[in-house]
């Protein structure tokens, strides 16, 4: 490995960690391209290695957020434990749906987020599904 690759890995790893702590994602969105770019891993190897790294990063992040009073552990564990159910659904969809439809679906969270505005508004609306509907109607 070249020194520049090592530096690249360290920098992208650090950046992924900051993003993870700030917005509550695992950091795979940066780990995967970093591993492909600097270690020339295949896409599958990069995703596997990224998931491995994410376990430690998310655990430390969740622990710290617990200290700050921002963790509802039971809810988080319930969501995590139930995710294999979704993996089955996702795998079936991935094999049945056309590729282009998947790419567009991938952008759905961004569209949802943008159309609803700030989360503070959602709380004032009660954070309910009805609030979600009203939010969509009242926003351009």
């Amino acid at each position: 490995m070249e020194a520049t690759d090592l530096i690249g890995l360290l920098v992208i790893g650090g950046a992924a960690g900051v993003v993870s702590g700030l917005v509550g994602v695992g950091g795979g969105v940066l780990f995967v391209p970093g591993l492909v770019l600097f270690l020339e891993q295949t896409q599958v190897e990069a995703e596997a290695t990224s998931l491995f790294a994410v376990v430690g990063v998310a655990a430390v992040g969740a622990y710290r957020q617990g200290g700050y009073g921002n963790l509802r552990l039971r809810d988080g564990l319930l969501v995590g434990v139930l995710s294999p159910l979704g993996v089955v659904v996702g795998t079936v969809v991935a094999n049945e749906a056309p590729e282009r439809a998947l790419q567009i679906l991938r952008s759905a969270p961004a569209v949802l987020r943008l159309s609803l505005g700030a989360p503070g508004d959602a709380q004032r609306r009660g954070g309910s599904i009805r609030g979600l509907e009203r939010g969509v109607m009242f926003r351009p």
Binding site: L6, V18, G24, N70, L82, S107, L112, P119, G120, G127
Partner: protein
């Protein structure tokens, strides 16, 4: 209106489905759904999302390890600075207004979605 527990089931399923479809941890799905369905505050949603991701990523990494796809040394190399980063990121988050957190989240989502659709 679905009960609170049913919504958590829905969020877990959605996160797992996105994770399987796109190879991401699911945080991009969990955080907004916790906020909009369960009226979480931003910081609470990000902290709770990280706890869910620990479980999701551990299951995924375990399955990949069975196929021999995990490179532990590479994982440590990129994960160690990330642990330092997450300490900084969570500390920084406590000092920033919540509005900034949601804006940063939106920027991340729009960027990754744009890259994916254009690629």
């Amino acid at each position: 209106m679905p009960s609170r527990r049913l919504r958590l089931v829905g969020i877990g399923t959605a996160a797992g489905a996105f994770s399987a479809l796109f190879g991401v941890g699911g945080g991009t799905v969990i955080v907004p759904l916790l906020i909009f369905w369960l009226a979480y505050e931003d910081r609470e949603a990000t902290g709770t999302s990280l706890a869910a991701i620990v479980v999701i990523a551990a299951l995924g990494a375990g399955a990949h390890a069975l196929y021999g796809n995990v490179d532990p040394l590479a994982g440590l190399l990129i994960g160690a600075p990330a642990v330092a980063g997450v300490l900084a990121g969570t500390a920084l988050q406590q000092r920033l207004p919540e509005r900034f957190v949601s804006t940063a989240f939106a920027v991340l989502l729009v960027t990754s979605a744009t890259v994916l659709v254009l690629s």
